[in-house]
């Protein structure tokens, strides 16, 4: 469904953030993108919805080359790709409901959005999503009144109300505590399963990635150095991706986590 072909990004400074990335993501597959800071994870997903312009190469979403779209076609294509951000990126001074409904901006006209008169179907869907993530009672609170975990749930609702084919998730748990991190990862993967959504999840917590996703892609200095199931991430492989370090603790932690992740209910 999503196919990246020789996707390259060279910044003006001459730094090559992505080097001819080839990657295919089939429909409904959730994929974790791991790698050290500066490996190009964030650049990669931003090149897909063109918050960052790729230098060369193509990104095909259902056969449409996103890299070549004009501004109006790009807006339409962005509706198909929901994005979830590291620091939630909610508009702090808007209400939870306005934040969720802003995911429909690509579908409604300016005056409707300006007057906050969304179609009833959008409003119903927003309430349904908020109920699904357990925040229905917060609908009219301002986004900055929420806790980190709650904000990220609103961020998830905003991405899903777009009715996307693909979720681009940039470090969803980087500013959350370990328990909330797991809940958020579980929520994202569950929702992807429910809706048969593909997702690319940037994540630096290797153990967390291994716990929740069937496929892991390792990025180092803009190149894919690993692509396989989570249990393929051996100590040698992690050294290859991140550099020399004692990885035994990380790998052991995963085995234990598998047991108590069942208990850590939402």
């Amino acid at each position: 469904m999503l196919e990246l072909k020789k996707l390259t990004k060279t910044y003006k400074t001459g730094d090559q953030a992505l080097k001819e990335i080839d990657l295919q993501v089939p429909k409904g597959q959730v994929l974790a993108l791991i790698g050290p800071s500066g490996a190009g994870k964030s650049t990669l997903i931003r090149c897909i919805n063109r918050l960052v312009e790729p230098t060369t190469g193509s990104a095909l979403l259902d056969g449409v080359d996103l890299a070549k779209l004009g501004s109006s076609a790009l807006r339409k294509a962005r509706r198909e790709m929901g994005m979830i951000f590291q620091e939630y990126a909610l508009v702090e001074r808007l209400t939870v409901m306005e934040n969720v409904l802003s995911g429909r901006l690509g579908y409604v006209g300016f005056w409707r959005s300006f007057l906050r008169r969304y179609p009833q179907s959008d409003v119903d869907e927003a309430f349904r999503l908020l109920d699904r993530v357990g925040l229905l009672h917060m609908a009219d609170k301002r986004a900055d009144e929420l806790s980190g975990g709650q904000r990220q749930r609103v961020g998830i609702c905003r991405a899903l109300i777009q009715n996307p084919k693909l979720l681009l998730v940039d470090e969803p748990t980087a500013s959350l505590d370990p328990k909330t991190s797991r809940q958020i990862m579980r929520l994202i993967t569950e929702l992807c399963r429910e809706r048969d959504l593909a997702a690319i999840i940037n994540i630096h917590d290797v153990a967390l990635a291994q716990m929740f996703v069937p496929r892991v892609v390792g990025l180092r200095l803009g190149e894919i150095v690993f692509d396989g199931p989570p249990n393929g991430l051996t100590s040698e492989m992690l050294t290859e991706i991140y550099g020399e370090e004692d990885w035994e603790a990380t790998i052991e932690a995963i085995d234990e986590d598998d047991d108590d992740s069942v208990e850590a209910a939402e």
């Binding site: 962005r78 994005m83 808007l94 802003s102 901006l105």
Partner: protein, 271 residues
């Protein structure tokens, strides 16, 4: 470069590195500044005899505040005041409405370069020309009266508000706006959802502040013939009617303080 050794550092006093690295330059700058200050003060000429004479007149002016005369020129004061308020409100509304698009255009992070340069040029021109100079020019064109004052204040508001609004937009949180863009919003929706909520409190606060500046300026502009309470004040001074002048000044101070209080309340509400 040699490796820094811990032993060399232990027992050594530590000071914050000075702003100007070279000691010679640092001392030269300090000495130059002091010499300039001494020279500058030496050139101020004070005619103490004249000051002594003036003290009486000053004192009469201060005394007038104890018995301000609101009554004998009441209709002139009232007319001037209404004219000033109308001028202030009209100029503020027009100025703010024009400032918003120019402010958007003058923010480098959202405007394309040509638009940015044009808007920055407008801001620069508006800020370079002092109100009084603009007022003198406009009085020459449009004649005496509040129209010239209204245009002057509108023009000054644009430079002030656009610049500060643009700076606030440039300092906004980029990811909030990015998230709105990622949803496929069009440009107008992006501004409305991603940027407006972030800058609104500051825009309201600055607008209130500008209204209060405009009112004070309207009192000054009367001195060059641009209408308003300033014209009444000027007349009172010309006639040595210090008690009437005092009444006018008290009214101006009262209104400015009321505006200040009001803007405090409004700013707290929109935070």
């Amino acid at each position: 470069m040699s490796q820094m050794q811990l032993e060399d550092k232990l027992g050594m006093a530590w000071r914050k590195p000075p702003f100007v690295k070279s000691p010679a330059l640092r001392w030269a700058l300090t000495a130059g500044f002091i010499a300039y200050m001494i020279a500058a003060f030496a050139t101020i000429e004070v005619n103490w005899g004249r000051v002594y004479e003036g003290l009486d007149r000053g004192w009469a002016f201060v005394l007038a505040f104890t018995s301000p005369d609101f009554v004998s020129r009441a209709s002139d004061i009232w007319e001037g005041l209404v004219e000033s308020i109308v001028m202030t409100v009209a100029a503020s509304v027009v100025g703010i409405l024009i400032s918003i698009p120019i402010g958007l255009g003058a923010a480098r992070n959202i405007a394309p370069l040509p638009v940015y340069l044009v808007c920055r040029a407008i801001v620069a021109i508006s800020r370079a020309l002092q109100e009084i100079i603009v007022a003198i020019l406009l009085v020459a064109i449009f004649g005496f009266g509040p129209l010239a004052g209204f245009l002057t204040l509108s023009f000054a508001t644009i430079g002030f508000l656009s610049k500060l609004l643009a700076e606030d937009i440039e300092a906004m949180d980029k990811v909030q706006a990015e998230a709105i863009k990622a949803s496929g919003a069009r440009w107008t929706q992006w501004i409305n959802y991603g940027i407006q909520p972030q800058v609104m409190p500051r825009l309201v606060g600055l607008s209130m502040y500008r209204i209060d500046i405009n009112f004070r300026e309207s009192a000054i502009l009367g001195l060059v013939g641009a209408g308003g309470i300033g014209a009444t004040l000027n007349t009172a001074f010309d006639r040595y009617e210090y008690d009437t002048a005092a009444a006018i000044l008290l009214l101006i101070i009262g209104i400015v303080m009321a505006l200040e209080y009001l803007s405090g309340i409004i700013r707290a509400k929109v935070q």
